[in-house]
């Protein structure tokens, strides 16, 4: 469905030091600088996949999405989406894809949503019955039936995001790109949107790429995650398997009935947290069995939990790993 080969994007930009003098200097001579926003990204996405793009700010996620939607031309490399080169902006391509940007609105600000939707209906040449069916279904699932006639500017952020999503899906696109659709939303709205996206993906087998900074979005929705850092893809796989790639460690949280010495514990594993009768240890996965037996047998344990390393940490470690190398 989506094929990306060695995609690169380099931006030109200028730097200016503070002050009036430097402003004048910049009038006559500006030093051109280049930023490799995306460098050499390749991946393939199959029909119906729900893929998450994860990465710190400025990693190149949005730039990649913009190239896939045809807004930007790449500096080099190739991409095919449904067999089309996105930046050739073929109408047939446009009719089958959609992009939602959490920070940009596509709806007409001064008009009620249904007016914008009608314009979209005309733009995508959707016939009446199909339009009505889709619209009814979407407003039903997102629970915004009563809000269609309200000026977009008067809607709350969460309501507006739902409307944006309706506007983006009214032509039933096969491919949907979502750039931070849950940004700035409260927990309930975030969950609503997540549930809706899940429903839409499973019901219509739509191929979806999602970027988000909220781990929950990625964890709950994406069957596959591509981590991008500094314009490069540094991980591609299931998010739950990310620990395995990183390091073979587990976390043991133990509560004791009495105070246990730090030295004793540090022989078992790395101490992450220590409070006398409570400790968080990071231990080697291969020796987990042996270690837990030792603890259970030799120490006054009240409570013991074995956990995976938190995802956030694993991801952060991947970012940092990459920074170093």
């Amino acid at each position: 469905m989506i094929d990306v080969v060695n995609l690169c994007k380099t931006y030109e930009y200028y730097k200016k030091d503070t002050g009036l003098k430097n402003s004048f200097k910049n009038l006559f001579h500006r030093k051109k600088l280049y930023k490799n926003a995306v460098k050499d990204i390749s991946f393939t996405i199959e029909e119906g996949e729900f893929v998450g793009f994860l990465g710190p700010n400025g990693a190149g996620k949005t730039t990649t999405l913009k190239m896939l939607s045809g807004i930007l031309h790449p500096t080099s490399g190739n991409a095919r989406v449904m067999g089309y080169v996105p930046w050739e902006r073929n109408n047939e391509f446009k009719r089958n894809f959609s992009i939602v940007m959490g920070q940009k609105n596509q709806l007409w600000w001064d008009l009620p949503t249904n007016e914008s939707l009608l314009l979209n209906k005309c733009i995508y040449e959707i016939d009446d019955s199909k339009y009505n069916n889709t619209l009814n279904e979407l407003v039903e699932v997102l629970d915004v039936k009563d809000l269609l006639k309200i000026q977009v500017r008067r809607l709350s952020l969460g309501e507006r995001m739902k409307m944006e999503i309706i506007a983006a899906l009214i032509h039933r696109p096969k491919i949907i790109l979502l750039d931070e659709p849950t940004i700035g939303l409260d927990l309930v709205s975030q969950r609503n949107i997540r549930e809706f996206l899940k429903y839409y993906n499973t019901t219509y087998k739509a191929t979806i790429i999602l970027t988000s900074h909220y781990m929950k979005d990625i964890e709950e929705l994406c069957t596959r995650t591509i981590i991008i850092n500094k314009g490069q893809s540094v991980y591609d796989g299931k998010i739950t398997e990310i620990n395995g790639v990183l390091k073979d460690a587990k976390i043991i949280k133990i509560r004791f009935s009495t105070h246990i010495d730090k030295d004793v514990l540090s022989q078992i594993g790395r101490i992450r947290e220590y409070a006398g009768d409570y400790v968080v240890l990071e231990v080697d996965k291969t020796r987990l069995n042996e270690h837990s037996k030792t603890i259970m047998n030799d120490m006054p344990v009240v409570d013991l939990n074995i956990e995976e390393i938190p995802l956030d940490e694993a991801i952060e470690a991947i970012y940092n790993n990459h920074d170093g190398g």
């Binding site: 807004i71 930046w87 940007m101 008009l111 314009l119 979209n120 733009i123 995508y124």
Partner: protein, 269 residues
């Protein structure tokens, strides 16, 4: 061109938004009263000292009519969408058009013409009232055929005007702050279209140059049809030239759009 559903809808959206802002449009007509008054005194003084009652080939009632008509027509043909285009280009609003199967130029002109529908009727009423008043006070001659032709020609004029404003607004692709260009461009376009004084004021040499340029066909040409200065075959030539210029300028606009997009594609929204 707006027979396609999507552009018809854009036309209707433009019409709807102009209804929201109709008061604004009427007030902007009232604002022209001040320059008209000043010009009235100027021209009256000039004609009082003119031996044959004619200045630049216009009689007194014609020149007063020109002054008032020019102010009204200027308001009608003015753009008003340049800052929207500017916003679209600067803040990524253009992206929502690029990813949809819609042509930005066609969308803009459909929206623009939609906005002008209500303004057209307001303009027509004010214009006809003015003609009636001028007829009573200054003996300005009324000719229904001329009024009819004027209303047809002005519809072509407004499309020419649209293209110029559209081309100017393309400056936003290259300049980080295009607001100044819009103000100067709008003013200059108004002057050389004949939106303030008749173009004869600028002398023979400059008028020869104007004859080769498209600008006079926006304001000067339709007003002087109404005024009876341009008659007969000249009207047909003028209309043909209007159409010729629309085609040429559209090509130019397409070129600017293509170059601008190239830049946009590189920089992003």
């Amino acid at each position: 061109m707006i027979t396609q559903g999507k552009y018809l809808k854009s036309f209707s959206l433009g019409f709807q938004s102009s209804l929201e802002y109709r008061a604004n449009f009427i007030i902007s007509f009232l604002s022209t009263l001040f320059p008209i008054t000043i010009q009235y005194f100027l021209w009256t003084a000039l004609y009082n000292n003119s031996p044959n009652g004619k200045v630049y080939g216009y009689n007194y009632s014609q020149i007063i009519a020109y002054t008032i008509f020019a102010a009204i027509v200027s308001k009608f043909v003015s753009g008003g969408f340049e800052s929207e285009v500017n916003e679209d280009i600067k803040n990524g609003g253009l992206n929502k058009f690029l990813i949809k199967p819609i042509d930005y130029y066609k969308y803009r002109i459909a929206c623009f013409l939609g906005q002008k529908v209500s303004q057209f009727f307001i303009m027509a009423i004010i214009l006809i009232l003015t003609i009636a008043i001028l007829n009573i006070t200054l003996g300005y001659s009324i000719n229904l055929a001329r009024i009819f032709i004027f209303f047809i020609v002005i519809i072509i004029s407004i499309q020419l005007s649209f293209i110029f404003v559209y081309c100017t607004s393309m400056a936003a692709f290259w300049l980080s702050e295009a607001g100044g260009i819009f103000v100067i461009g709008g003013l200059l376009l108004n002057i050389i279209s004949g939106g303030i004084v008749p173009l004869e004021v600028f002398g023979n040499t400059i008028n020869h140059i104007f004859n080769f340029l498209p600008f006079k066909y926006i304001i000067y040409f339709p007003i002087n049809i109404l005024n009876g200065v341009i008659v007969g075959r000249q009207i047909i030539y003028g209309v043909l030239l209007q159409i010729f210029w629309i085609i040429v300028c559209k090509k130019f606009a397409d070129m600017l759009w293509k170059q601008g997009l190239k830049r946009h594609n590189a920089v992003g929204g």
